[in-house]
Each structure stands twice: as C-alpha cells, then as structure tokens.
Amino acid sequence: MNKERKEVLLSPLDKKNPVLVLVLGICSSLAVTAQIKPALVMGISVTVVVAFSNVIISLLRNTIPNRIRIIVQLVVVAALVIIVEQILKAYSYEVWGQLSVYIGLIITNCILMGRLEAFALGNGPWDSFLDGIGNGLGYTIILVIIAFVRELFGSGSLLGFQIIPQSFYDAGYVNNGLMIMPPMALIVVGCIIWVHRSMHKDLQEK
C-alpha cells in the first residue's frame, strides 16, 4: 500500500476524524453510547454501510446525472441499510432488538452523505473503500470511547460485565444516573474534542 492510500485509510482515525474534526454523526453518537455493545455494533454497521456505499457510488460516479446525484446516493445508502437490518434480524436478533430504531438512523448519519459527496464522487472504488473503512473506524473508536466512559460510570460495568465491585456499592457508591442520559454523551464528546484539539495545535481555530 503506498503512502497516499495509507493516508486515506488512517487519517480519519485521528487528524480527519469525522466526529472530532468534521463533527458529523453526532446524533447517533448520543443515542447509542449508553453501553459499549450497541455502540460497537452501530460502529461496525456504519463502517460496512459507508465502505460499500462509497464503492458503489464511486463505480457509478461517471454515470450519475448531476441533478439527481443526492437522490441516487440516498437510494444506495437506504438500500444498504435495509439489507444490513434484514441480515441483523435474521442472524443476530438480540442485537437487532437493541438497535431497533437506530438502524434506520444510519441512513441519516451525516458521515455517509459527507463521504459520498466529498470523496466517492471524485475517487476510484478502491480508494473510496479505504476512505469508507477509515471513516467508519474513526467513528467507531469515538463511539466506543464515549460508551466506555458512560457505561463505566453510569452502570458500573463494561460490555455488560460488572467492573465496579459490589463492596463499593455497599460502602455507599452510587452509579451516576446523568451518565445514562443523552446530554452526558454530548459533554463527553466535548471533552474528547478538547483533548484532541490540544494535542493537535494546527486544528485550533484562531
């Protein structure tokens, strides 16, 4: 893999992170991050959908009539999301039940349209695929970090396993109910962006 391709794949994980830098996909990062498991599944689903819709749009990019290109993108994304939902429902029913309405929300995830417009329409299928995977993973990482904080302090567990020992609760420790509420996700995102910006001075706006 040459250097440019590596850049396409890896830069969304850090310096071009869709959530931290482009601030896309915030809605779903609030909705599914109360626990790690749904966050992980959401991240993987989004990664799959971005990667494949990127490839499809990239393959079609020279045929798509300019006037209806957004509609074409939406149809491709919606079709892929429905297929992902059907597969989850057939092979991973419990996860499907947990994600329920959020699967539909993948369609409205701004990362998808953002990548299709900004990248897939102007680049080849392989590059687009890498770009999709990179952005999907960048999104997943942030989701999992938020979910880690929220599940640990909100429910005292990680991936459903109890982490904070029972003796703490007996001694009067209480789970932070605010962590479970959506606003806390926004605050955690804010904190992550803060740390991220202070690590990358060039991203700071003057």
């Binding site: 509609i71 297929i83 059907q86 029913y93």
Partner: protein
C-alpha cells in the same frame, strides 16, 4: 448520451429504482424464514420470563418445550375452545390464549397481555399460581417507550413486585393498581409506578385489567375446581 438531459435522468432513475427494489425483495424473501423463527424464539423467551426463567437465546426453544406443558384457547365463558398448542402460540390479541407451565413441580397459568403505552404498543405475560389468583411473576415488553422512563417496565426492578399480588378480592376480579408514589391505594393490591413514566404505568394498569377481565370466567372455573378438591 448527454448526462444532463431529461431523458437520461429519467431512465437512470427508473432503472436504479427497479434494480434496488428487486435486490431488496430478494434479500427479504431469502431471510424471511430465519427472521420468523427468531420472532418465535423471542416470543418463547418472553413467555418463559413470565415464570422467572430467562434462558440464553440459543436455549430458549428447548427450555420452552420443557417448561410449557400445555397451550390452548379459551372463550369468554372460560371453556376451552381449542387445545391445539400451535394455534394458541400463534394466537393474536383477538383470541384468549392460555399457557400452562410446570415450575418446580407446581402448575402456573400464563396469560398474554396486550395494551398501549405512551408511544406505542406494550405487551407482556403474567403467570398465576394454580389458585388462579396469586401472581407468580410478570414480564413486560414495549415497542418504543422512552428509555430510562417508560421503558423501565421491561426491567426486573419494575416486574419483581408483581409476585405475590392477588387479582381477586372477595371473589371479584379487580386486577392490580400501578400507583404513583404518594397516591392513596384503594382496595386493590398495588405495585409502584415508574417515576417519569406515568402514562406507560397507566398503560400497564389498563392492560392488566382489560386482559385479565376477559379471563374472569376461566379463572373462576379453576377456583371452583380447586375448592372441590380441597373440600373432598
């Protein structure tokens, strides 16, 4: 061909829509059977959870066949109208299904419940001891109640207090009250409502009452039989 012409755009859109529709129809058809099976297994584990059995998803079906000993349909007069277990399992809310379970050697009657919460449907199963009066356990599910508020009806914390409550008072079926903190209880047994989930809690109360009342004759028949046995 000119990519910006109307003809091209029309043809492009039509072909795209037809292709996508065909692909979706194919996926749906190919996975239908597996999905229906999942829905069934999910229903089985919900029925089981109303007698406090919560098996892993993969074991639900085997456990169901072990615990549920009979399933049948009754009418409003309490007579059994069909003892076909499959029919009873597939019955919707227009029919009165009863499931019999054997838990720790004693018989439980499981009654399906259907109602409405704040945002959408709620449903559940309540199991009664063999006196057809005392609740053994209950489980509730919902389609889309508010997480953290109404959705709490699906948690064990809300469901556990139902155990041991009696639905009959002096030979009359009164069902249960789901009371907000500070409300004055009437003669009915009651459980605590969910703070912030008032409408959903009311929905649970209404659902219990509406559904159980339809089975009143059926319960009374069982109680009469029990009496006979104990008098002999």
């Amino acid at each position: 061909m000119d990519k910006n012409s109307n003809t091209y755009t029309f043809i492009y859109a039509s072909v795209m829509v037809i292709l996508v529709a065909a692909a979706l129809a194919y996926v749906n058809g190919a996975l239908k059977e597996k999905q229906n099976k999942n829905v069934e297994v999910d229903k089985m584990s919900q029925i089981l959870s109303s007698v406090n059995i919560r098996p892993a998803y993969s074991e639900a079906e085997a456990k169901y066949n072990e615990v549920i000993t009979a399933a049948y349909l009754v009418n409003e007069q309490g007579e059994v109208v069909s003892d076909n277990a499959k029919e009873a399992f597939a019955a919707d809310k227009t029919k009165l299904a009863v499931f019999e379970a054997t838990v720790d050697g004693s018989k439980k009657y499981i009654i399906p419940l259907y109602g409405a919460g704040l945002w959408g449907d709620i449903w559940g199963y309540v199991s009664l001891n063999d006196d057809a009066n005392t609740i053994y356990a209950a489980s509730f599910s919902h389609k889309g109640e508010t997480p953290g508020l109404g959705a709490e009806i699906a948690t064990e914390k809300f469901q556990e207090p139902f155990a041991g409550k009696q639905i009959f008072k002096d030979g009359k079926l009164l069902s249960l009250a789901v009371l907000k903190a500070g409300a004055v209880p009437d003669e009915r047994d009651y459980v605590d409502a969910i703070t912030g989930g008032t409408r959903t809690s009311e929905g649970v109360e209404k659902m219990l009452k509406n559904c159980l009342l339809q089975y009143e004759a059926f319960f009374k028949n069982i109680q009469a039989k029990e009496e006979e046995v104990s008098h002999e």
